[in-house]
Homo-oligomer: 253 residues x 8
């Protein structure tokens, strides 16, 4: 619509309705206001194919609802992250089609139906890491990627990890979720060829310092090909993985 606004202005210049000075003024301001960069925004939504995500913490339930309402009204599928049960109920009340993924603390309304791009595989180390892993897996699915899960495979029992080798080698991107010493991404990255998105979790106690130990370990991975997201950032990991996997189906450039 930027284009149509500009076309209008050009027409007005041409037919003399708008003088040079006024045209200059409007052109200078245009890109900073609601035209130029809205195009960027539109472009993003278009190419990313990723509907907007609402991060719930720090917003009142009413704020969350209002934002969701507006997005639904504009036909956008919505993913709300880190929802507590009260917000989930409120959303369910107003949007009965919403789905509450409890362990992942996500609510989705609508979403991308068609699975496209490469496979995203989510592996996680312990039972307690599953909520974060699910947040990643559901986000990637919401963004349209085919997703496989492979959970509870800690490095202290390599035999549990290896049955997943074939699966992991089919992935376009692997999300590796681990707390405590955070060694899983290093071991996984040594076994596969695709990029590994590492997610440290706050699972652990004492000197895990709320996930700091796992975070540092992942940043220092001796295995090339590992990139890291914030502690417990399942959503962002699923998002990155989906972007990577989508590249797999992109047209040649």
């Amino acid at each position: 619509m930027l284009r149509s606004k500009l076309a209008e202005l050009i027409a007005a210049v041409r037919d003399g309705t708008v003088g040079t000075e006024e045209a200059l003024d409007r052109l200078e301001k245009l890109p900073y206001e609601d035209v130029g960069f809205a195009r960027i925004d539109h472009h993003r939504t278009l190419r990313r194919g990723m509907p907007e995500v609402v991060y719930a913490p720090g917003k009142t339930p009413d704020q969350v609802l209002a934002i969701v309402d507006r997005m639904i009204a504009s036909g956008t599928p919505v993913l709300v992250s880190r929802v507590d049960p009260g917000v989930a109920s409120l959303l369910a009340c107003h949007h009965p089609e919403s789905v509450h993924h409890e362990s992942a603390r996500l609510v989705s309304i609508g979403g991308v139906d068609r699975r496209q791009g490469g496979l995203v595989v989510v592996v996680s180390a312990g039972t307690a890491d599953i909520p974060v892993a699910e947040e990643a897996a559901l986000t990637a699915e919401f963004a349209g990627s085919p997703v496989e899960r492979f959970y509870d495979v800690g490095v202290a029992g390599l035999h549990r990890l290896l049955p997943g080798l074939d699966l992991m080698r089919r992935a376009a991107c692997i999300v590796a979720v681990a707390g405590m010493e955070g060694a899983l991404p290093s071991v996984v990255a040594g076994l596969v060829a695709c990029p590994v998105v590492a997610v440290p979790t706050s699972v652990g106690y004492g000197a895990s310092f709320g996930g700091l130990a796992a975070l540092l370990a992942m940043l220092n991975s001796c295995a090339g090909g590992v990139a890291v997201v914030n502690i417990d950032a399942g959503f962002n990991a699923g998002f990155v993985a989906s972007l990577v996997a989508r590249v797999a189906s992109a047209e040649p450039r």
Copy 2:
């Protein structure tokens, strides 16, 4: 070659040269020694198309040379990272075909000729970040990716960043390198659709704490789609970006 070793053993079992017990023993040990997991290794080299990299620090010049010699002998292109001038000279003396990329502290011998996969774009914030950015760019090139550079675009002067928009939007993966407050990846990720690999650098002073400030900022990016590597880890960033960009040319799965 694993396969041929196994074929030999199977033949020997079949013609009775090797008895059941001995076959059992050899099979049990095989995968842990130099056969089963060497296949994994081979597989990695094959699929990743990434030749081995030698991280020079902590190795004596002679150790570096010996490793490089063996790799060259086996026909593998070699990338040596974090080389100081002395090591570079030693390598140049023994391998005159070696190329020393001084600011990036890399020495490459051989490499992948054909450019393949999606475009990798490396953006960096300040002049002092260029060595790390170059390490990323050269690594991605070494791994066979087409690479474009776009340097010296700090967030305090957005006008310098925006001329690169078209370039960045053609990327399959962007490497964003920044020290100090490390805000570049957030701004970049808000403008494009591809994944962004963020590299914090140790550029800065005082409360930058050797790159910690930039690292934390990048991990906390409010823009989805950003994953982070270690401080000054240009090599790993280039490696991850190349893996991501390669997905772009992979066969459909």
Copy 3:
């Protein structure tokens, strides 16, 4: 009144009522007690035009009330910060003219009516940063500055920030409030000419470490002209901004 006390003493010396020794004693003690430095205090109130502020945490409700009572009695407008609802109710009960700004956790009683000095603009990055931003904005207003708000403008969507350019360029001082990666002040400072007071918030999770990531990012801003206050310190930011903006209307020196 110091002056009058001193004048009395001088008179008493002159007419011999007070001897040299006693005069010496009283003069030596005077400035340390309740005279000399009370003048300083008076001077501060006078020039700063900033009424006293009561920081509620760590004080019992009764202590807060007692302090407020005394200040009201002396005709001073009062700002109470970080009030919880119980304290606000107690104050409302005793001082029906008090105003409770809930999201900013402030209670004001009285205040400066006339707006004077330059414009203070408060910008904030996310919805969750608004309480801190409001604390800053209300404080600056309470101190007499004209204030404009411009909220929800994160660096991952520059198009949302730019419509505020004109507003920001009219400011005598900008307060920039952000959590997570804390990049907003750098971007803002690159666009304007006035000083920017950066306020990191504790909004975020994981490696934001309660606002530390944003704090470090702001301290390391590559854009000159940014100064930083404590995490979530909306009050102090508003106070500093008001002091800066007031300079704008000061008499030439």
Copy 4:
């Protein structure tokens, strides 16, 4: 010049030289390239009246010289910060009019002659803090502010601080520089009405952790009106102070 470029385009549209489609394309790209935001830049230089500053560390001597050359050629006064003696000599060789402020590690070429705006007062705690204090003072002077220095006034000897009271009370902005426990800004801010820019220095040992102790102390100042810059960031402190003091002489808005 953006305006003239736009005027050309409008003229071309009007006389039909440029068609609608082409005009649309050029208008869409214009602001992101070298037009719209270059105006911003120009605007900044104009209003801030602050010539560009070159931060030397991480740049080769030749890079520094090249940048300085280009700036001098365009008639801009230059301030180079954190220069080591070698770079200073190189600059002196090519630009004999350059001035090397050794203890502050600054080289200035040209500068603002006329002193304007309010007074900047720089106070510092110990002898070892003087280089950082000088960096602040010289920067503010370079930016055109009248500056007064008041050094070696630690909080453990209040009597040394108080003779400067009159001076400090005439300031439009005070820069307070201190290492170790960093208490000076709190004490100063309690005595004056203007904003205080606090600069922690890395002076100290042991648990000063390179200035962290002073930084944290300043961020937690119980005295309102204190904002903080990075450790040893004399340049930025002088810059902020000059911006604040300049407000003092600005036209009413």
Copy 5:
């Protein structure tokens, strides 16, 4: 059973039921799936004689129960650590033979009857350290080690420590538990000849930073022979000590 699976395959190769290609395929996959490493697992259980342990936090009560049920069904004794009262009650309801060690937050079901190997001695510094010490002692007992406790012996009262000298000198391994300054392991290690497993606890306040002070002190012990586990990690300390003490009764190699 790996051996028997392999024997079957060898027989099938020999009698021609399985062709070379298929044999190659199955052999390549075998060790990564459920054969080779399951043997490792079996081996571990066998040699360690340590039944599985279920770490309760991060698991739902139902998950804990399900895991315990399966383990009991397979005849394995079970130790559940960090149980809250609700989980303990649930387990008691379904497994009346379970024993709840409240202060140590452990539930054991079954366990090793026969005491074997060297003596484990658990010493602790303060009353508040006893829960962690008990977790260590009960774990070591559960693993079959004879255990003696010697509690409330802080370094500020050496006379309380010394009566335990004889006991400590009979130990094959000592677990030393302490919060606050964490000095107990250093003092103990200076008095005995066996290895000391140091357990920092989160007992303390202020600059103990949740046990960090004790952890660092123990890692820096000037007394050789001290190795450290995570903060509050009573279970792991008891496990390590039991492994060490078990060596005492191992067959000569």
Copy 6:
């Protein structure tokens, strides 16, 4: 009583009841058990004149009561620190003579009547620091020192501090309590001649990191003569101050 035990042994040796070997054995063990070091303990109580203190956290109410009962039974005055109201009530029920100092979270039973030694002065910066200051003051009083309090004297209002100069100069030891930037001890130490015991408190928010900022500031005090205790450690500060002040009345050595 050690002496009498030894005397018995000597007698037994002399009259031959105990043989040389047995005597050797008993002598070797004696000091480590319950004799030699119990003397030390006795000696401490005697000289320090400081009754035992029970630190309540981490102990069950019953454990606290049991310890107090035994101490009362042996005629020792008792100070229980960090008591919550439940424990205070329990103690009041069993020991009606107990006194609960609520804000300081102390319960005292008995105590030293006679005031002796030099004066301890407790100064504190803010209202919220008073509980810690009271813990210090009451502990010093309990230990027998004359104590004066001087509260609410922050460094941002020096005029409030100076009226206490005379008082502070009469002190044998000053306890200076402050949160936030923790500057009070530096300022105080610059004004007096006696040792200053600095107590950082956890009062503050954001980058005060639970008192860390104040702690570091105090450790880095530029004023000689300041020694520091743990965050919020009012008890230990009062204890140290009382030991120092007691020296004042000690016999010449």
Copy 7:
């Protein structure tokens, strides 16, 4: 001399040479300039009996010399701390009576001859801690205290500590110096009745983090009566100890 200045003024008022207004002006300024607080200063020197100390780092050799010259000229004994050999030589050249204590990095010129007050005992843990211990001991001696040293007594060999018991029990104040785990002060404080000044040193490696481990341990000492100074702060420890010991000889108050 303040008194005489005031006397002059009073005389001038009385004889009419100075009018009321002028008297008011001069009286108001007096205490902040060179009169009131210089008295404080004088008072400090008088009572503390501690000559000035010059901290050399961050000062040029010429600055150090100039300060020393002025102090010597005014008859004050001087202690220069943290001197490197160059500065020591320079001082020796100009002040041949200067004494260079190499391992303690101190230069003293003049000093207090008469030993007075209680005994200061300096104990240290390892050979590498001796320079810091010597800095403490020499400072206390310089300040006039009788000092005894007792070095190389680590907690891992209690038998080395105990022969010093008698000595330590005669102390008015003990300085306990230790690196690594920093446990010495806790053990010492448990054996004596006087206050213990703990000095953490940067001796150690790895997780000692430059003395942080020892610092935290000392702050968390379970033994009452321990106060802590900065890492490697031998000078301040000796200063505090001397102040404490001096109290011992003070007149009763």
Copy 8:
């Protein structure tokens, strides 16, 4: 010799040469001086079979030599750790029989000939970790343990680790040395039954923070049976491992 001293005293008591009072006095002091605890010392050397170790840093070359001389004179084998080449040469000059292990920075003079106890296996992750691994291996050998090395087995290439399985399973104790993400001990502990002593190294860069990342990872190992020593603490790891392995050959208790 304690025993003989005591025997003398007992004889003297018996024959009346020493009276009761004097005997009491001497007995009270005896254990604190050079008798009781020297026995402890002797006992340690005897049982531990570990000769004394001299930690060179922080000692002058002459101090090191003097200590070594005294130990050699008393017939004790000596291990000097962290020696730089100068000290090694000095020792070689005076003790030609000394052996300098360069990469491990150790000098040994004499040592234990007979290998005894269980096998110690030292595994390490990267080439740069070898110096620390060698320090551990040589220390364990020096202490008399049979030692096997298995180096350069990182977790990113599991196939390199597994050939060592048989070796590792024969160990009485394994020392696992790793920098960067420090995952090796977790993986190793999952494969074996013996205790694992984990040694983090300072190998790495950026967010490895000098070994902190590896240290935290090891402390948070999800595999039971891992205990940790200080960063780069090869000596202590070898010492602990040798103590553990020695238990293997100890008499049954």
